[in-house]
Symmetry: C2
Amino acid sequence: MGKIDIQQLKDVANHLRIDSIKMTCAAKSGHPTSSCSAAEIIATLFFNEMKFDKTFPKNPSSDRFVLSKGHACPVLYAAWHQAGHISTADMMNIRKITCDLEGHPTPRLDFIDVATGSLGQGLSCAAGMAYAGKYIDEASYRVYCLLGDGECAEGSVWEATAFASYYKLDNLVAIVDMNRLGQTQQTMLGHDADTLAKRFESFGCHTVIVDGSNVVELLNAYNIARQTKGRPTAIVAKTLKGKGIIGIEDEDNWHGKAVPENTIEAIEQLLMNKVDITGTLEINLPINDAPNIQLPIGHIKMAPPEYTIGDKVATRQAYGVALAKLGDACPRIIGLDGDTKNSTFSENLLKKHPKQFVECFIAEQNLVGVAVGLQCRDRAIPFASTFAAFFTRAADQLRMAAVSFANIKCAGSHVGVSIGEDGPSQMGLEDIALFRTIPGSIVFYPTDAVAAERATELAANTRGIAFIRTGRPACPVIYSNDEKFEIGKGKIVHNSSKPKVLIIGAGVTLYEAKKAADKLQSENVEVIVMDPFTIKPLDKDLIVKSARRAENRIITVEDHYQAGGIGEAVCQAVSDQKNIHVRSLFVLDVPHSGPPDVLLEKYGISARCIIDAVQQFIHLPN
Amino acid sequence: MGKIDIQQLKDVANHLRIDSIKMTCAAKSGHPTSSCSAAEIIATLFFNEMKFDKTFPKNPSSDRFVLSKGHACPVLYAAWHQAGHISTADMMNIRKITCDLEGHPTPRLDFIDVATGSLGQGLSCAAGMAYAGKYIDEASYRVYCLLGDGECAEGSVWEATAFASYYKLDNLVAIVDMNRLGQTQQTMLGHDADTLAKRFESFGCHTVIVDGSNVVELLNAYNIARQTKGRPTAIVAKTLKGKGIIGIEDEDNWHGKAVPENTIEAIEQLLMNKVDITGTLEINLPINDAPNIQLPIGHIKMAPPEYTIGDKVATRQAYGVALAKLGDACPRIIGLDGDTKNSTFSENLLKKHPKQFVECFIAEQNLVGVAVGLQCRDRAIPFASTFAAFFTRAADQLRMAAVSFANIKCAGSHVGVSIGEDGPSQMGLEDIALFRTIPGSIVFYPTDAVAAERATELAANTRGIAFIRTGRPACPVIYSNDEKFEIGKGKIVHNSSKPKVLIIGAGVTLYEAKKAADKLQSENVEVIVMDPFTIKPLDKDLIVKSARRAENRIITVEDHYQAGGIGEAVCQAVSDQKNIHVRSLFVLDVPHSGPPDVLLEKYGISARCIIDAVQQFIHLPN
C-alpha cells in the first residue's frame, strides 16, 4: 500500500465526516459525532479491506457489513455516497419521509441486511451471517461488524462473542469504535482499551488495539484478522467522539445533535484543509464463490403426518418430527435451539441432519439474532426453538427482526400452566401477546400433532416472522393425516344444530372445551367448539358466522394471560359486529407449581370452569 | 476451623444431597443432579460463611443469598430444612399445589427474595441488593449469588458483573457451580475453569478457582472474598453434575429428572457411608446494622405540579420533575437509567439527590434486575427509566419481576411514531402490550404534564409493578394543577350534549382527538373525548356510560401497535355489553422515519384520520 493510497483513505474519511455533518445539519437531527469517530474505520473498510459489489449490494458473495451502532448511519450513508450508490440529493434527504435513508438503518435500503438502532444486537446478526458463510455457503465472504463502546455494556454482545468463538468464526471481525462517550456521560470503561480487549480475548477472540483514527493501524489490524484462523478477531479502535469537529471533538453533550448550521462552513474548511488528493478509490470486487440459491419458499413439501386419531402426542414432539422432515425437503432449513432441544424436540433435525442445526446454548437474545443473520440474503430459513417463556428474553431482538423484515420462524414450547410442576418461571403466558405485536407476524397455535406438523410446514412456506406455540403435555390426535390447514382458517371441532354458545380454545384448552361440550350435551346444552389454528390472522368470518348461529355468544378460553391473548383478539375481531357478546377465560394471576389438571382448574380454564361459564352466560337476563 | 467442623460441613453436604434426591423422587420431577453438584457450596455458605437470622429470614441485616440457578432449589430447600426452618413433611411436598416449595423458587417463601428459574437473572438482582447494602443501607450484610455454568452464556450475567465491578461492590460474591453439563449437552466451556475465571477477571472481579466439592477450598475462597476490597469476587467452583449419585454423576441425560425410586435406598446408603458425625452446626447471626425502615408507601406526598394551562411540556419532562420531587419527599426513592437520563429526564433526580440515582449504562436487562434487587426487603422504591422500546430488552426480567411480586416502577419515554425522525428502532409500539401482560401491573398513560406528575406520585404510592408511558413531544398542559387523578379513573376532556361517538385517546392521540372533536363540532357532529389515564386498570364504567350516551359507538386511537394495546383493552372491556361497537385506529405497520405530524397522518392516527373514522362510523347503515 503506497503513500498515495494512505492519503486517499484519509481523504475519504474526511469526506465522510463532512457529509455526515452536512446531512444531519440538513435534517436538523441525527448523530454526526458518533459518525465522525468512525470515519477512518469506515473509509478503510469500504475502500480497501472489504470485497463487495457496489452495483448489487445483495450479492451473496460480497463481504457483509453490519453497523451495530446504528445511530452512526450518516457515516455509512456517506460511504455508499462515496461509492457512487447514493446521490448527493438523496443523501441530503436523510430522515425525511420520502427517503429511505432513515434515522437508523433499515433494510428498506438495498445495502442494509439488518436493521439496527437498538444497541448490542448487530454482532449476533453478524455472527449468524458468518456462520452461514463458513458452514452453510462454505464461501469466502467475510463479515465486519462495527460496534460502539457504549453498547458493549449490552450482554447480547457477549452472547454473540461467545457464540462466534465457540464456532470458530474466523471470518468475523468485530470492530469497536471506542470513542469514550455515551449519550449522557462517559461509558463504564472510558478509554480503557486494555480492559475491553481483555474481555474480548477472554471470550475467545484474537484482539488488536489500534488508534482508530490511524488508517495504517486499521489496515494492519484487518490484515491480522484475515490471517487469524480458528477464532474471530476483535479490533478495539480508540477514537474521539466528534473527531475533526472543532469545539465538539471529545466533548460531552453532543450525542445525537446536529452541529449549528452557522458553524458548518468553518468545520468543512478545516476538514478540507487536510484533504490532499482528489481521485477515486477502487472497491475490491467479491470472489463469486457463494452458491446462487433460490429458496423454495411456497414449495417446500413435507412428507405427510403419520398419526392415528386418539394417539397421545405432544405438539412440541410433532413440531420436531415436522422440522426433521422439512430438513429432508430443503437443506437450507436450519434449526437453532437454546440448550432445550430435547424439550422442544428440535433435536430431531440435529439427529437427522447435523449440518442443519446450530446449538446456541442458553442465550436467547443471540439465538434470535443469529437466526436473523442466517436468513439475510436468503441464505437460510431458520427455525429457532426454546421454551415460549424464554422468547421474552429476545423480545427486543424480535421487535428489531420485524424492522429488518426478517424471515424467521420461532417455535416456543412449554406454554401455560399445563406444564405443571416446574412453576411460573417456565410457563409461557405472554408469548401470544409478544408475537401478535410483531407487524405482519403469523401466530400458529396448533392443537394436535397433525396441526402442529402442518403449522411447521406452513411457517416454512410463508415469508416473514412466524411463531408456533407448542405444548408440553401429550394430547390425543384429533385430525386425520389428510386434514388441510390454512393460515387464517379455523375449524369447528364440535358442532351442533341449535348451539347456545361458541367456545374458542386452542391447545390444552381446546380439549377442555371439547370435554365441556360433551358434558353439556349430556345436559342438553348445545355448543360449538372452534379451533382457530392461527391466532393471527384470526378467522373472523368463521367466528362471526358461528357466533351468529350460537345466539351471539362467544366464550374464549386460553392457557395464557389476558392481555394480547386469544380473548382480546376475538373481542377485537367482533368489535364491529352488532350484539355479539364475548366472555373470556384466561390465567388471571401468577400461577403456582402443581399438577397440570389442578392448575387448569385453579386458574379457571378447565372443562368445569368452561361449563360454569356457559351456564352463567346462557342464564343471563337478555 | 477444626477437623470436626470440616467433617460436619461435609456431612451436611451429603445430607443436602440425600434430601434433594428424596424430595424430587417424591415429586417424580425436579433437578436432583443440579442440586448435588452444589451441595458443598450451599453447606459451607449456610453453615459457616453467611450471617443470617434463620427465624426471621427477611431480617434486613442478614446476608442475602440468591439462587440464580433456580432449578437447583431442592438443595436450597434442604438447607433451610437443615436449618430447622422447613419441616420434613413440607420438604417432601415440594412441587405440590399445597406447598410453596415450588419447582423453581418464588418469594411465596419467606426465605426467597427474588424468583429465579429464567437463567442468568439472579446476579443482577444480587447486584441490586449489594448496591443497596453498600450505598443505601450502608450496612455490613453481604450478598452471595450461586450461578450455573450453563447460564453464564446469558449476556445478562455479564451486564451484572460489569455493573458490580463499576460500582466496586466488594460485598458481592458470585459463585459458579461449574458442573460442565447443560440440559442437553456439555456447556460451551465444559470444565475450562480458567477461561471462565478470565472472563470474570476481565469484567472486573477478583476471581478464585476452587474444587467445588472441597469444603476447605470453598471456605478459603469465601475468606479471600471477604478480604477483597473495591471489587466483587467470582468463585469458579469445579463440580460434577449429580455428584455422589452412583451411575448418574457426571453423566449426560440426567438434567431435570428424578432418580428411579428403586435406586434411592442404595444411593442414600452410599452417601450415608460418608457421614461421620451427627451434631448441629450453628448459624452465624447477623450484625444488626441495617436501618429498620418502613417505606411510606401510600403516604409519599409530592409538592404539587406548577404548570400553566396551555404551556407546552413533554410528559417525559414532567416525569423528571415529579421524580425529583418524590426524591425530596422520600430518601428511598431511587432512580435508575440506561444512559438515557437526559432524554427520560430522570437526570432531574440525579442532579438534586445524587445518592438516590444509579446509572446502569446501556444494559436494560440489568437495569430492571438491579431495580428488582433494590426493592427486596423494602430497601427502596426503584424507578427505572429508559426509552419505552428498550424495556422490551428486559421483557423476561419484567416477567420474572411479576413472579417475584416486586415493587418496581418503570418509566418508558419516546413512545410511538410521534418521536419522528429517529425511526422505528427507537419507537415504543408494543410497550403497553408488554406491561399489560404483567399480572397485577398498573399502566399509566398520562397525557399532559400535570397527569404525568400525578402518575409518578401514584406509582410511588402503590405497591407492585407500574409502568408510566411518557412521550417525546412537548404538548399543551390541559389539566389544572389541582386536578385529582386516580388509578382506574378516566376523564372526559371534550363533552357534548348529543354525542354520536366516544373517542378514547391518550398522549399525542388525545390531542389529535381533541382537534378532531373541535373540527367535527364546527361541522355539527358532536363527540365525547375521553382520557383513560390508566390503560390498566381501565375505567370501564366511564367507557360504558359514555358509549351509551354516544349512540354506542367508540373509536380508540393510539400511538402503538394493535395487539395488546388500548383498542383491544377497550374491546375486551365492553365485550359483555350489548350492542356497543368499537373501531380502532393504531399503527398498522413498521413505521418509517419522518416528521411526527407526517407520521401520525401516514400511520392513520391523526386528527384527520379520526374525523374520517367518525364520519364513516356514523354513516354506517344501522
